[in-house]
Symmetry: D2
């Protein structure tokens, strides 16, 4: 009751916020109208990155607990979806930035040397905390990204690396999924059986199809063989060597959740996986659109010479993806009708009590 009345401008620290734009061109007495836009766009980015890190803080708190409570999973999904919305907004900020022409950028471009978006500590922290590992990170002109950071920022990034990543917490959480033990056999074995049955039916059909030219028959059989072989990536005990970054139990749990997504016990898990894929895709898209924008602004280099910012960004677009494994899962789905049926006790455990 003794609270002082709150004033909008004070609450938002507008005096500070709106005096934080100091164009280099003004210091040099150069007229460069668009530098303000350049500053504002990047400050807006950094505000949104701050919000993403705030969400990652709560996610870390919730997701690193064992077990993760139902309430917590719901909160994590909510935070991930919010991060996705922010990333979509951040992508569309490029529409505003692109109202600056290359020629207008030239008015102040050289004054900013050697500052660069590569030095955004917060963006590096977001990548790191999602799960981008230092050895995957693409160096720029043969130099690690850290070499371009100030000592304080380098330290902050190092500290971020010591925290559990979303990728790591996801792996642990998935690996604990309780519904994969189907008594007599595991879900993995049941699914392997279903896959083989599904594909061998196709093989029989190809063999029995009298109208099929021999050459075509051989090619289709070869394709089916290859399909069966490809499933080894999830069935062989040493699936860790299949090119997955997730552990084998986590891969199988993710597959299980994808296939039985409508059961109450894994509905939120399915939404969690979908939200991570949304984030991964939109991050990728952001890097790519960013690359296009940089090229439009600075030009495309033809021939040799140090890599340009644009082509660097384009490289990271793919290489910095963290949750590629989840996309790869689509390769290993079989049609609904061919799915192994859930054992009754598992099915019961995956429903809600009130539903029984």
């Amino acid at each position: 009751m003794a609270r002082a009345p709150v004033y909008y401008g004070d609450y938002l620290k507008l005096a500070r916020l709106l005096s934080s734009q100091e164009p280099e061109s003004a210091k040099d007495g150069v007229e460069a109208h668009d530098e303000m836009l350049f500053i504002i766009v990047h400050q807006a980015y950094e505000l949104w990155f701050r919000q993403i890190l705030h969400e990652l803080d709560r996610i870390e708190r919730d997701f690193s607990a064992v077990p993760v409570s139902d309430d917590a999973v719901a909160r994590i999904v909510h935070s991930l979806n919010r991060i996705h919305e922010i990333l979509k907004l951040v992508v569309s900020q490029l529409d505003v930035l692109e109202t600056m022409t290359p020629f207008d950028f030239l008015d102040f471009r050289d004054l900013l040397m050697p500052a660069s978006g590569f030095q955004s500590l917060q963006f590096r922290m977001i990548e790191t905390r999602l799960g981008l590992s230092p050895d995957v990170r693409v160096p720029f002109d043969d130099k690690a990204i850290e070499d371009r950071l100030s000592a304080a920022d380098r330290e902050a990034l190092a500290a971020a690396r010591n925290r559990p990543t979303v990728f790591f917490m996801l792996d642990s959480w998935l690996a604990r999924t309780p519904f994969l033990d189907w008594g007599a056999k595991t879900f993995r074995e049941a699914y392997r059986h279903a896959v083989e049955k599904h594909l061998s039916r196709d093989i029989d059909l190809v063999k029995a199809d009298a109208g099929l030219p021999e050459e075509k028959r051989q090619r289709e059989l070869k394709n089916l063989d290859r399909a069966i072989a490809s499933f080894a990536a999830i069935f062989s005990p040493d699936a860790e060597d299949g090119g997955w970054r997730l552990s084998a139990p986590a891969v199988q749990a993710a597959l299980f959740i994808t296939l039985y997504r409508d059961k109450p016990a894994v509905q939120q898990g399915f939404r969690l996986l979908a939200a991570l894929m949304d984030i991964d895709e939109t991050m990728t898209l952001w890097r790519y659109r960013h690359a296009l924008m940089v090229e439009r602004m600075i030009g495309v280099k033809i021939g040799t010479g140090g890599s340009s910012g644009g082509s660097y960004l384009r490289t990271t677009a793919e290489r910095h993806r963290v949750f590629g494994d989840l996309f790869r899962l689509s390769t290993f789905l079989i049609p609904r009708a061919a799915l192994p049926e859930l054992p009754p006790d598992v099915q019961a455990r995956m429903g809600l009590v009130y539903a029984s």
Copy 2:
């Protein structure tokens, strides 16, 4: 050459920027995760408003000159289009804000009393500098919007009112358009003639149509009479009383530009009018979506009692429009084929030399 190297974080004042979020809930020891989002969204708004005001500064410099040079008109159009892009972004920020549920808002809503977006000085300045006049501005709960501002903000808003508005500069610039004097008669007279010819042809057709039931014929003739009468709003010498906010010469020039938009001399003018309509429409849309969002967040009041923020915003959505006259112009167009031909000397003056 003696310039010190610029560092991204210093350039953007990130230390200041990213320490400007001070949730009230934290001060009270209350857990309210979403207050950060609430702060960040509003800070992002204010950053963008700052950029819009920066563009309005240049527009004022360029647009208040007499005459406005060709280069300047191009710059004004560019700035207006940028403002439009920013407004579209600002609308889509609501997608992010709406990830906050009403129940989560409740965690800290009361702590912010009586702060409110109505107190955004920058937004008020934008409205004012575009041309919203104080007597049109809708009061909130019978109090002028100024009564909710701090003394300093009130003063800043008053100062903004003393500057030439975009609406005012537009009116002056339009009224100076040099192509409406067609020698023997003015464009207004030629257009009046064309309108009458166009509509009387319709009247003749209706009268001559033997197959038309009498009742329908009378109705159509009445409609055509009404159409002719409606044109009085642009043709009568005292058109100022026709409900226009723009002066009569400005209205006629805007009409002229709309009709002959593809001639080099008015191409940029046409784009200028279109950009103002884009801005007006998107501002309106923003107020409206904002109203919907507020209602979703705080609930819809049924029955009597002080007006709610949502319904207030919805009222301003329409009443605060500045460039409604430009939309109204569409009522007074006639088909291309019925347009009066430009006199040869006017046509020549509206082309480019190289084209002759």
Copy 3:
């Protein structure tokens, strides 16, 4: 195996689809380049409306069952979210349509008389099947919307009216929510108690605040009284008279779900309510943006005379909302800390077995 190979163009019936644009202007030998755009935009709308109706078909199948299975609720939520995405796309189609200027529209506008978007059967069916009742529907120029439809379309709309609406199925489903019976008392009573306790604490604080001027104290107490009175709308046994369209049990269940949204048993229910609000809001927004666009295209009427399409659309923007009750719920929330605790048995029934 005997399936014929499918060809893209045949599969999509492109020969038919791409020959379905027959501009009236071409028939009249008039040059009106933009009529093609006008046709394509409206055809794209209708394709998307077809998809929305396809989703509504599945929703009806799933939602009209008693009880609605967990799988079905998940499917309904998925369909509603898809409808929401489609509506967002449909809104952004206006960005394309607005590349047509009023002057270009004039080239063919009269040729289309009296055709109008009001005659979109599919859009009327969507409104109807969501739950817009005929007596709420705003008439246009004193004529029911049906009067403008062909006999066949009128019949189809009448048939749609005989089907269970989403609103109706929602009401029934909510009213069956099993967690509101808390043994000794109902959730309604427990919540009423919590509300009173929460507000009376505020009353005590106001009374005890020595520093408060008497006039202000009286005003605050009056506000609190009013707040308590407003809750009657959900607590009085005859809440049906409180201005709700939903039944009293449904309102209470919706409130319950909103407050305890993170419990597994109501997570999907919460998402279902949120999706309906998203749809309601985006439909409203679409009507409103549509109204702005119409006014830009045809002009704003000033003064008397038959209502214009633009102002009609603006009226329906509000009046045709179907799920306003869900927005109103926000008025009746209290902070998390003041919530009544779930009885242990209810809490248990709302969790998942595996979690115990």
Copy 4:
């Protein structure tokens, strides 16, 4: 007057349009709810492609004339901007398509074999008519894209190839730009002089900077040398070998327009170049997002084997760009202050008569 009244549904051929969805799954008696979405999305794409082709028709008519009139340039810019808006919409349709999960796609995916978006004749025609040449087009699995088209479609595509492309018409039009002959010398020579002056000033500064370590000095001088050398791509008489697809005169005109964009005579030309870059960028973005979506839907292939649709699309994202030269121009800009001044007579010819 004798016109029959037009009915919305007849005008839009809705009976035909809305009966053109024939899911393969329905024919097979398979339940695959999402196939309707798949069909509708692709039909909506094709409708929009039809509109783009309609705009390209007008562009071709206007742009292939010699000279291109001022009115025509304005129309071309308008059509290009509309195409850009359509492409943005088409990109956002992916948001709707992504509501289909890979698992749901599996319900009918095999039934569509071997149909594929690669068979969209209209999309191929758009690429072709913009200026993608057959020898640049990336083959899919070693087969030209034509091999997957029906005979009729192949013929239609071949016919499209015989029409003047936007790229070709742009080149011719640019090469005719009348302002590059500056009397004593050409714009090219004046600009070369300005570039050398601008860069040699930098060289002098580097040499004179006493505080600069020798190693760094050498590196900076080398960079400046490289910069000067790079400009050879626009200055050497045989610039055709510089990796440009545009002719040397066209490159120089595009550069000229970019640098003097605010002069009335080239304002529309500048907008034309900008619109082409917008289109090029959004086409690229569309292919890329499409690639991501395909991978999400079908999975990422690891290791050897036929190329996947996703990685093919990603390859074309870059390789199928038509207007890359315009982006490359940014590399050859110098700051406004270093620009050569326009000779007075050129300046005069670039203004409007009324401005003199």
